[in-house]
Symmetry: C2
Subunit: 223 residues, 2 copies
Amino acid sequence: MVRAGAPDDPTVSTPTERLSRQLAFLTECDRLKGVRRTTYLHDGSRPENSAEHSWHLALMALLGGLPPGTDRSRVTALLLVHDLVEIHAGDTHFDATPEALARQADQEAQAARTLFGRLPADQAASLRGLWEEFEAQRTPDARYARALDALQPMLLTWGPGGRGCTDRHPELTAERLLALKRPRLEAYPDLWALAQQVVTDAVRAGLLPTAPVTAGMKLRLSP
Amino acid sequence: MVRAGAPDDPTVSTPTERLSRQLAFLTECDRLKGVRRTTYLHDGSRPENSAEHSWHLALMALLGGLPPGTDRSRVTALLLVHDLVEIHAGDTHFDATPEALARQADQEAQAARTLFGRLPADQAASLRGLWEEFEAQRTPDARYARALDALQPMLLTWGPGGRGCTDRHPELTAERLLALKRPRLEAYPDLWALAQQVVTDAVRAGLLPTAPVTAGMKLRLSP
């Protein structure tokens, strides 16, 4: 049962109330600009935040041909909202344990109720639906959006002029990276070819080891 | 005449060349995350950058009813690319002189040639077309996108919980702010009503003066 004044109250319908709720939602969303990702900007100067990351993904969706059965405006909408729940739940590491991922999923479901509940009921349902679609990964739009989300950090870190991340993630090898990305990218031959090319170039440039870098290795390299 | 290898060379058509050009463009676009705006985040912690600003605008375009004659996916696309040329040309102050604005327009036209020229010719034309449409302000989509662009900094600065900007812009009064925003917002009754409400609330909360704040005023208030 919905109580009057509850966040998902469907009786909120006057224009003023709608605007006031949208305003509360939009100012709260500003906090996504303060959620730090593990990926650094291309110039290595600082960690990327989830708001600018979402913009970069939506820009990628504007470029080039989308796979058959996908719709550009829906892919874009999915990308714009896919990280919003991190405002309350934070970001996860690319290599998180299954337990950490399960905990994160619980926190994100709670965060979705709080955040989208700020909106008038119809808009809450619409935006929450986009977030759930991205999470469920059952539609072609959601899978393609997730593929762009998997590719973008690779472009920042190892794309032309990139600096790698061996200092922050010495355990990350070319093989491990491709194994992590393959399930997201393999269905899209262009994206998967690009990912493999980026990794090949990064290994050649010495930005990505093919075996883990350890303090021991450095010692062995000393004369 | 287009020389082979020039940035707008239409002969670039192999999949590998296309991907390589898109990659160069996308990594260059990362620099928009380093372009500082005059607006601060809602929590006042730092200036907003143009990439996260573009995301916030695209999120606003997802919400609520768009005016008749506008298309949500086109408005979103305009918002995603509208600030890209700032990578090379920088942002302008909300209150810049006509001379500064003319200089900025020249720099942005040059920046557009450089930046969009990184892409394969068909995509360069498409993204450059979006940027030109936004700048020209002749279509309903471009005008509505520009209205959101005018409203968003108001929400960050004076929306519920906002901190105002009297410390940074003591010359800015409620009257001046509304005079600056009116040409962009007046055609959209909901947005204009919201802007006026935000200003009224900010004046009441002491976050926006109705007359310029000067050192003299502070002296006069002393006993």
